[in-house]
Every structure is written in C-alpha cells, then in structure tokens.
C-alpha cells in the first residue's frame, strides 16, 4: 500500500517538471516579453537602452538559464508582474481564486446531488420507463456543449423570466459580511452552478447505473437475499457500499472538466473568477498572468488525479500495481 502511494507521488514530480517546461516554452513563444510593454509605454527609449534592460533582466541568457531563474522564482511564490494591471500576479490571482473555488465546489456538490440518486434509480429499476428517462437525459447532457447550454440558461432564466441576475458574482452595493450579501452571492451562483452541474452528471450516472446492474446479480447479493435481507437493505448495505466508493475516488478526475467548463461558464455569466481572468489576460496579451494560470490549472489537475489514484487504490485493492 505504502509503496504504491510513494510511487504514485514520485510520478508526479517529472509530470510537474515537464508541465513547467512546456509552459515556459509557450511563454517564450508568445509575442513580446517583459521589456516590450515598457518599451511601448515610453517610445523615446533607444535601441541600446532596451538592450540594456533586456540584459539586466537576463532575457539574453540561454533558455535553460532563464528557465532555472523562472522556476526558482515560481517556487518561492513570485509569479511576476502583470503588465496590464501593474500589480503582482499573485495578488491578482488571490482576488479571484475564491470565486472560482466557490463555483467549482458548489458545482461538484450539485452534480453529485443529482447524479447519485439518478444513477441509483436507473440501476435498481433498469429498463423501466424511469430508467429510460434517465438514460435519455444522460445522452442529451453528454451531447450538449457547455457554452450553448449556459447561454440558453442565461437567456431563459435571467433575460426572459428575470429570476436571476444576468452576471457578476455579487451586487457591488451590498455590504460585505451582511446576510443580504450572502443571499445575493448565492443568487449569482445558482445559474452558473446549475449550467455546469446538469452537464457534468454524465460520467457518474453512467458508472453507477452500469455498476449496480453488474453487481445485483453477483453471488454475495444473492446470498444476502437468500438469508432474508429486505430488498431496501440489500441495496443500501450491500450494493451501494460497493458502487459508491469509486465515485468518491473519481473526484480528482472531475477537476479537468471543471477547469475547461469554468472558462466558458465564467465568460457567459461574467463571473469574476480565474477562467474569466484567463480570457481577459489572453486578450490583453498579459502573458505573465496567462502563464501563471496555466501552471496553476495544470498543477491542480496533476495533484487531483494523483489523489484520485491513491484513494481508488485504498478503496479497491485490485488496481494496486506494486
């Protein structure tokens, strides 16, 4: 067990190094560097002066030296300055990360709140009309692209019916900490969370349904029935314990979907989180912010999948590769 955890954690290190190398290369490939912004804001700088600044910032060093410096700073938590906002990237991210984490947390919560009951019902009463309805919903949610669904939700519930605000994360007139502030924040979250959650249920429902259908004909379930366990208990005590645990372990894998989903959803609901910041920074050619965001998301996914693998190996000893 321990060997597996240690090995799985060690795999993460080359993954993170490779990720940072790729992102560094990307950052180098992007047009402009730290000096271009300064040079543009003061056009009377001479070519020699620009060259001097480049030399000072180490921009003329070979790429591996630059990579070394960049990594050293990043490890210390120094992510550089944003050219557009004229403030440290770290500060910029700190102001936004709370919103995105909040959105992601509630999206996951609602996803499971919808998917687990539906998966259980579809698996227990498979091939009835309820099951067919759930499977139908699953086909539709699998096929629907995030941005189309989010846009339709925004159009119907915010513009046509006027039930929810059309954008933002909270009304600026609200006083922070008050009860109405929390209520308003929740109101702003409903549509973004629902648009994400209703589409993310696909994997969980599909997995639970198949797993329950497979499990309910197994010997241990038949034994339970034979010794007179009531049908409801057979499901809650015997089958669910088998099928639900892996679902908990898939949590880390959901992060990938959440990150790409958040870019679309935050754009459409003008929700001030990291996804929106990413698009704004790309449009404003603010590449230090872009690099930091890609690195952050990449790390989140790498760590998430590692946690998933470890939880899965604890839950299900069969997949342990020692």
């Amino acid at each position: 067990m321990l060997t597996f955890i240690v090995r799985r954690t060690l795999i993460m290190i080359p993954q993170l190094v490779l990720l940072s190398l790729i992102i560094f290369m990307l950052a180098k490939a992007m047009p402009g560097d730290a000096v271009t912004g300064a040079a543009m804001s003061s056009p009377d700088m001479t070519e020699a002066q620009i060259e001097k600044i480049r030399e000072k910032h180490g921009l003329n060093d070979p790429w591996f030296v630059q990579y070394g410096h960049w990594m050293k700073r990043a490890l210390k938590g120094d992510l550089g300055m944003s050219y557009v906002h004229k403030q440290p990237v770290k500060k910029l991210l700190a102001g936004r990360i709370e919103n995105t984490v909040l959105l992601a947390f509630f999206t996951l919560l609602v996803t499971y709140a919808i998917a687990i009951p539906l998966g259980l019902i579809a698996g227990r009463w498979n091939d009835t009309w309820v099951d067919k309805l759930i499977v139908g919903y699953n086909y539709v949610s699998f096929a629907t692209p995030f941005f189309v669904f989010a846009l339709l939700m925004l159009f119907v519930f915010s513009f046509v019916l006027g039930w929810f605000p059309t954008g933002g994360s909270v009304d600026i007139r609200m006083e922070e900490g008050s009860w109405s502030y929390v209520v308003d924040k929740a109101k702003h979250l409903v549509l973004p969370v629902l648009s994400g959650a209703l589409l993310l249920t696909y994997g969980t429902i599909q997995y639970l349904r198949n797993d329950i259908i497979d499990t309910k004909v197994k010997d241990f379930v038949r034994t339970a029935r034979a010794k007179g366990v009531p049908e409801g208990k057979v499901y809650s005590r015997h089958i669910l314990r088998n099928s639900l645990l892996p679902i908990a372990a898939f949590l880390g894998y959901e992060i990938t979907g959440l990150i790409s989903g958040s870019i679309f959803i935050e754009m459409i609901f003008s929700y001030p989180g990291l996804g929106q910041l990413f698009i704004q920074s790309i449009n404003g050619r603010d590449f230090t912010v872009v690099t930091a965001l890609v690195m952050l998301s990449g790390t989140a996914v790498v760590v998430g999948t590692m946690l998933s693998d470890i939880i899965l190996s604890i839950v299900d000893p069969r997949i342990r590769i020692d």
């Binding site: 990307l26 086909y139 189309v148």
Partner: protein
Amino acid sequence: MLAVLKQKTVLERHHTLPRMIWKEVGSDRIAIGSLVVLIIILGAAYLAPLFIDYRTLMRIDLMKIYNPPSAYHWLGTDNGGRDVFGQLLLGTRNSFTIGICVTVLAGLYGLAVGLIAGYYGGIVDNIIMRVIDFLLVLPSLMIIIVFVVAVPEYTVLTFILLMSAFAWFGKARLIRSRSLSERELDYIQASKTLGTPGWKIMLTGLFPNISSLVIVNMTLTLAGNIGLETGLTFLGFGLPAGTPSLGTLIAYAKNPDVVQNKWWVWLPAALLILLLMLCINFIGQAVKRATDARQRMT
C-alpha cells in the same frame, strides 16, 4: 462441401460491419430520425454555396443593421447588416467540415500511436503510455488558446492541426489496450512466426480487427470536436475572422443587448448546434451497439 461454402457466405454477409451498423440504426427509431434530420441539415449546408454568393453574403450593409426576421431575411441580419440565415448555412458547413477533419486526423494519430504501443508492448508500450498519461492531464483547452494566440500565421489549417494535436490521447489509449490483448491471439503470433514485418501485421492483421472500435470512437468524438471548435470560436480563439462558424454567430451573444433583444442572431445557431450534437450522438450510440454483440437490439 457446397452447402458448407454457401453457409459461410451467408454468415459473412450478415456480419460485415457496415451491414450490422445499418441494421442497428434501422431498427432504432430515434437513430433513423436523427439520420434524416442530419442529412437534411448537412444537405442544405453543403448545397448552399450553389445558391448563396459568399461575397454578397459577407458584404456590410449599414442600412440593415440588426433587422428582425422578415420575408427577405428569414432570420434577420447581424451587426453588419449581413443575412443570418445564409451565415447559418455556411457556418454549419465550416463547423462540420472542420469537425470531420479534426476527428479523422486525431483518429490517425491515435491509431498510429496505439497500434505501435499495443503491438510491440513491453518497454515501447511503457514509454508511450507514460507520455500519454502526462498529456492527458494537460489543461488542453487553455494550451490550445495560448497556441492560437502565439502562432504567427494563423489559418484554418493551423487551427485544424492544433485541435487534432490535442484530441488523440484518449483514442491512443483505447486502441492500445485492445491491440495489447489482440496481439496474444494465434493469428498474430502465426504471422510473426512466418516472418511478416511488424508494420504489415499492424496494418493488415491488427487494424482490420480493431476497426470497429475506431469507427465507434470516431462517431462519438465527432460531436465533441464540433462542440470544441464552435466553443473556441465563441470565445474568439477559433476560426480566423472572415470564416463564419456556428460559434461566430453565437459569439454575438457576448453582448447582453443582443442576448435579450436580438435573439434571431444567436439563438438559431445555438439550437442548431444542439440539434446537430444530439443527432450525431444518437447515431453514434446505435453504431456502438451494432459493434457490441451484447448490446445489439436486432
């Protein structure tokens, strides 16, 4: 002898892949409906250039900005006075063509990598799979967007190559695991003993036997790829300006005034994407059932 031969041909006729797919799709009412709708939409989209002149369509007419639907402009006009219905048809054609190109290219990459990893196994497989494990955890949407901005000369072709470069990881994994079990079978081992070169076994022995897997996977990912292309275009990092896509029309909805008051510009495109995705997926599910004997309904 003759009877045996005859029986054999009957068996073969019943079990070719296209025949089984056709039978399965035919017995599923939703799949048939999807196929008909898809043919109508694509027929209209691909025949449209015969009737619509691209340059007249994209000409800006300041007198007709945001006209609501009328007898002449069936779905009204956009912010440049251009006909929305015509753009819808051209957009569908572009989006679908790009979706197909990306799916086929990604299929080829996935096939090549998956076959090599699965056929050779051992250390080759190990290295390739570790690389794929890594590629799968990349935040690919973000990286595609960064590439789109960083590439100096950006054309439709670069976009297709870029998207397909990030779309093959899962496929390679799938194909690899099937080839890995397939290569232990006698017919591959026999070919090896006879001295057939590796590439020949892969192409003429392995490939035909996993082709059904590839076809199913490609139909199911086609919808996803179209969704990704329109999504990227919606965000402004997809098709270069001047090439209408379904995403271009939906992108007008980034302006709240358009969402609320000028629904004819973006809503038809959004609903059309939804319809296309659903049709392709329902057909894909039927194809999937056709290749899996346990799920077949006929």
